[in-house]
């Protein structure tokens, strides 16, 4: 027998109350004055005996009542064999780390073997559960008693490339404990990376009443070198202009020289030796990127000779193509904007566009759909066919940028953009010489690398009503300078000035080239795809317009990454393996996603033993589970309460009889 809430037994001190009332407190007989006690003797034995006979019964009942109430609150239980099936046992959780770092020296294989050894000592009555964890927890089984199922689940765990997270593991274990309502005996098989520990200790909290046993795959930190990152263009038009920059990092490693190689489609293009300092980083740069047309599987590889081979290369993909055309429409009499815009586009380091300029009156037969993006530079009017084609082009997903200068301000509304044009202002007329950009959304794709935009002087501006458009930049008088509106599937940027060095001096500033390049890339839909993805990131398979169109994705092993149903409906694909994913998106375009493991996994420093001990202690002490085969608790509080009610009824009856006698006597 035991108590589920034994601290309530402290309430037994309440028994002192009836003891005090009945035994300790001096009993007060009713006092009555009498003429003389001459004929009375101290013959008290009989009267006390007479009194106590009645009081002792009340005392016993009241004491019993208090004790029963205390007992009921303490929630007594007895072990009953009848209730033991599947309820009174602990749940043994085998948690195996299958993160990227477990690739080192076959740590995962060792962990699985040790887990198998643990299961060899399995008692048939125990319940067990196997889970694998990396950045998330994957339950391999439900709680079962079948050791064969548990062994199978352990063997079924495969190597992952995720980053391990002890916080996720702790959260999963808390969920398991809450769902099973059983004490846990947790066996963790992991390389116990320090980098897997969460920042907040609260995230480590193990479930209450859990015994936590750590089976480390390794006890000492191992030196490791890795290609930490690669900076390379996603699209290459001119291989001679494309540069690749890689960072080689040493984790817990001594200073050493590493040979880094640039590999394109499995062929080493170039190799360089780089000196990596102690626990430091070094950068290696490959000035050219000779890749064939189309998608190329590229990587930077080092000869690290360490135990973790998976991080010795960094994958990235490159798409080589001819420059895409950008249509620039301008006033025929004003060639300045065309000149500056074209020059900026050609000056871009990763020039991916070729500008074709037309006068506004020449565009009647021009088809915008042939161009990656269209730029309309301060045009007073456009031929209606072209305007109609341009509107359709934008609605179909095309990108358009409109510069609104003094000429365009003659129109009441911005074409396609369809917002009202206000007054055109010359700063000199107002006594103020120029305006500058003040509020700039530097996070926008068109403005990310546009530095020192605030140095540009704007002499003439046109006030445009933003309407439903998003304002990306404003002048210091809060006039919208750059606006964006999504129309249909396309995007329209409106620049409330010109590119001609008259209304402003923007073309003369360093910010002009990246602005032009990024705006064109943004409008052309480029730049959305990075050259490399981290593991567990998502790849967008389709837009909202492309619902119902099947996509196809092959994982790094060449297997289908999506089921048929997912191929028809999934809007994104989780990239959970390191390597190349070959994807045919809903648009029909072939994509190549290079995926790399989180480089925090490359740091093989082991969690300090003290920290591990602290983590174990969050399970609140030793396991108090009812061992397998023993009886489950059968709670008795209900019976105790019934007994208390019965005793209370008897006490009330006897007490009332006593009170009646007392009232009659008085």
């Amino acid at each position: 027998m035991g108590f589920l809430a034994p601290w309530f037994l402290a309430g037994a001190v309440a028994v002192g109350l009836p003891i005090y009332v009945h035994l300790l407190r001096q009993h007060e007989s009713p006092k009555m004055p009498f003429s003389s006690l001459m004929f009375f003797e101290r013959h008290v034995q009989s009267s006390i005996k007479y009194r106590r006979l009645r009081y002792l019964l009340l005392f016993a009942l009241r004491t019993a009542l208090f004790l029963l109430l205390v007992l009921a609150f303490a929630d007594p239980f007895v072990k009953s064999k009848a209730g033991a099936v599947g309820t009174g046992r602990k749940l043994v959780v085998v948690a195996i780390d299958n993160s990227f770092s477990m690739r080192a020296e076959d740590h995962l294989g060792r962990a699985k073997r040790e887990a198998g050894s643990l299961l060899a000592t399995w008692t048939p009555e125990s319940q067990g559960l196997v889970l694998a964890f990396g950045s998330s927890v994957q339950l391999m089984t439900q709680p079962v008693t079948d050791v064969a199922a548990l062994r199978g689940a352990v063997q079924a765990i495969t190597q992952g490339d995720s980053r391990s997270s002890f916080a996720e593991l702790a959260r999963g274990l808390r969920a398991v404990a809450q769902a099973s309502q059983l004490p846990l005996e947790i066996h963790l098989f992991s390389d116990m990376q320090k980098s897997s520990a969460p920042i907040s200790f609260a995230d480590w909290q193990l479930p209450a009443n859990a015994q936590f046993v750590v089976h480390p795959a390794t006890t000492a930190s191992e030196p490791n070198w890795a290609v930490e990152s690669v900076s390379a263009p996603r699209r290459v038009q001119d291989p001679k202009k494309a540069r690749v920059q890689a960072t080689i990092a040493g984790f817990g490693a001594p200073a050493a020289e590493r040979r880094a190689s640039l590999v394109v489609n499995g062929q080493v293009r170039e190799s360089k030796t780089v000196a990596v300092p102690l626990n430091g980083r070094a950068t290696v740069e490959f000035p050219t990127l000779e890749v064939p047309y189309g998608l190329a599987r590229c990587e930077v590889r080092i000869d690290s000779a360490d135990k973790l081979k998976g991080d010795d290369q960094f994958y990235f993909s490159v798409d080589r193509s001819d420059p895409r055309k950008v249509l620039l429409v301008h006033e025929s009499r004003n060639q300045r904007a065309s000149t500056y815009f074209r020059a900026a586009m050609e000056a871009a380091p990763e020039a991916a566009f070729q500008v074709e300029a037309f006068g506004a009156e020449q565009t009647a037969n021009v088809k915008p759909s042939k161009y990656a993006a269209v730029v309309v530079s301060d045009v007073a009017s456009l031929p209606p066919p072209f305007l109609e084609a341009l509107t359709a082009y934008v609605r179909g997903g095309g990108g358009l940028m409109i510069a609104v200068g003094p000429s365009a301000a003659l129109r009441p509304r911005v074409p396609v953009f369809d917002e009202a044009i206000g007054e055109a202002r010359h700063m000199a007329q107002g006594g103020q010489r120029f305006l500058v950009a003040s509020a700039v959304d530097a996070g926008h794709a068109a403005l990310q690398r546009v530095n020192k935009f605030e140095n540009v002087r704007f002499y003439q501006t046109v006030r445009i009503d933003p309407g439903s458009a998003r304002v990306l930049a404003r002048l210091d008088d809060l006039t919208p300078l750059l606006l964006e509106k999504k129309i249909g599937e396309g995007r329209v940027l409106v620049f409330a000035s010109t590119f001609d060095n008259i209304s402003n001096d923007f073309p003369l500033h360093a910010a002009f080239v990246p602005f032009v390049e990024q705006s064109a890339s943004y409008l052309a839909g480029q730049g959305a795809r990075p050259p490399a993805y981290p593991v567990d990131s998502y790849f967008e398979l389709r837009t909202a317009k492309e619902q119902g169109i099947a996509v196809e994705a092959l994982d790094p092993d060449g297997a289908r990454a999506l089921s048929l149903a997912e191929a028809a409906t999934a809007s994104s694909l989780q990239l959970n393996r390191q390597g190349y994913y070959s994807i045919r998106a809903a648009s029909g375009r072939q994509e190549l996603a290079a995926v790399n493991a989180d480089r925090r996994e490359s740091d093989l420093e082991v969690l300090p033993a003290e920290t591990t001990a602290l983590w174990q202690n969050t399970g609140q002490g030793p396991l108090t589970a009812v061992q397998g085969g023993e009886a489950a608790p059968f709670r008795l509080w209900w019976y105790v309460i019934l007994g208390a009610i019965l005793v209370a009824a008897v006490e009330t009856w006897i007490g009332s009889r006593y009170l009646e006698g007392k009232a009659g006597a008085s």
């Binding site: 007989s29 009713p30 006092k31 009555m32 004055p33 009498f34 003429s35 003389s36 006690l37 001459m38 004929f39 009375f40 003797e41 101290r42 013959h43 008290v44 009989s46 009267s47 006390i48 007479y50 009194r51 006698g661 007392k662 009659g664 006597a665």
Partner: protein, 296 residues
């Protein structure tokens, strides 16, 4: 009808001892209807020739009308009877279980005797109120206003202190100049031997002694249905008493005490009469006088 007013608890509701005494005595007298002899000195003795100084109220004017000589009508006791009441006003007399305390009952008794003696018998009456000391003493006399003085003294007699017969009675013997009737009204919580030993000398000096033993019914046969803590009204001592003891041993003891007192009094030639305060006073007086008549 009148009997209803003679219940002690009813008498307690009547203000003024004189009225109480009159009520009692009138009831008592009406109960003795056609009895030619009544009173404590009821025996007719003789006619005596008037001499200077005699109370004119005692002249028998019928005889004077026939003989033209003044004669005084004299009863046997009238010649030398003085009634002195010794009232125990100790604290124990303050006990009463049914509305009437023993001291009240004793006061009614003394008032009734006084009224009977002075108004009906033309005797002298006096009172001595005592506890362990003599608290008040009014000499027995027939002077006018004596009844009022007696009643006033009785009315102011409140129970207090302890009972001590020896000291007051020794003093009283020094006050007693003439023979007479001495009425002792008390609850006699003293050993019977001591009581008789104390009051017996009065008898030796020629006085007639009457002991009225006033007791409450709860004292005679106490009834407790539970253990009770009794507190002595004189000493302040307390005692836990069980109902069983009160019903058995105590009752036997009080009966033995009463019996012993009665026996000792009888042996000493002293009248003893037990007064239960639950009894109507006139009825008790009538019974006593009937017994007295029979004895004479």
């Amino acid at each position: 009808m009148l009997q209803r007013f003679l219940d002690p608890s009813v008498l307690a509701g009547i203000s003024g001892l004189e009225l109480v005494a009159k009520t009692v005595v009138d009831g008592f007298v009406s109960g003795l209807h056609r009895s030619p002899d009544y009173g404590f000195s009821q025996e007719f003795a003789e006619y005596r020739a008037y001499s200077e100084g005699d109370d004119l109220r005692h002249i028998d004017w019928n005889v004077y009308a026939r003989t033209e000589r003044a004669y005084l009508k004299r009863y046997r006791g009238e010649t030398n009877t003085l009634v002195t009441m010794l009232l125990d006003a100790s604290a124990s007399m303050g006990f009463g279980s049914r509305g009437v305390k023993k001291i009240d009952y004793a006061r009614y008794l003394c008032a009734s005797i006084s009224y009977l003696a002075i108004q009906q018998q033309r005797d002298g009456a006096g009172v001595l109120i005592f506890d362990d000391e003599i608290r008040q003493f009014i000499r027995p006399t027939t002077r006018q206003g004596q009844l009022a003085r007696l009643l006033h003294a009785l009315e102011s007699a409140e129970p207090r202190a302890r009972t001590d017969f020896a000291k007051p009675f020794i003093h009283f013997q020094s006050f007693l100049r003439r023979r007479g009737i001495v009425v002792v009204v008390s609850d006699f919580y003293e050993k019977p031997e001591a009581v008789i030993h104390t009051v017996e000398p009065l008898r030796f000096r020629g006085s007639e002694l009457l002991l009225f033993h006033v007791l409450d019914p709860q004292e005679l046969s106490p009834k407790f249905d539970r253990p009770i803590l009794l507190e002595d009204m004189e000493t302040g001592d307390s005692l836990d008493v069980s109902p069983v003891y009160a019903a058995t041993e105590y009752s036997a003891k009080i009966e033995a005490h009463i019996g012993t007192l009665r026996e000792k009094a009888k042996a000493a030639g002293i009248d003893y009469f037990l007064l239960n305060t639950s009894r109507p006073l006139d009825e008790a007086l009538r019974e006593y006088l009937s017994l007295r008549q029979g004895r004479m």
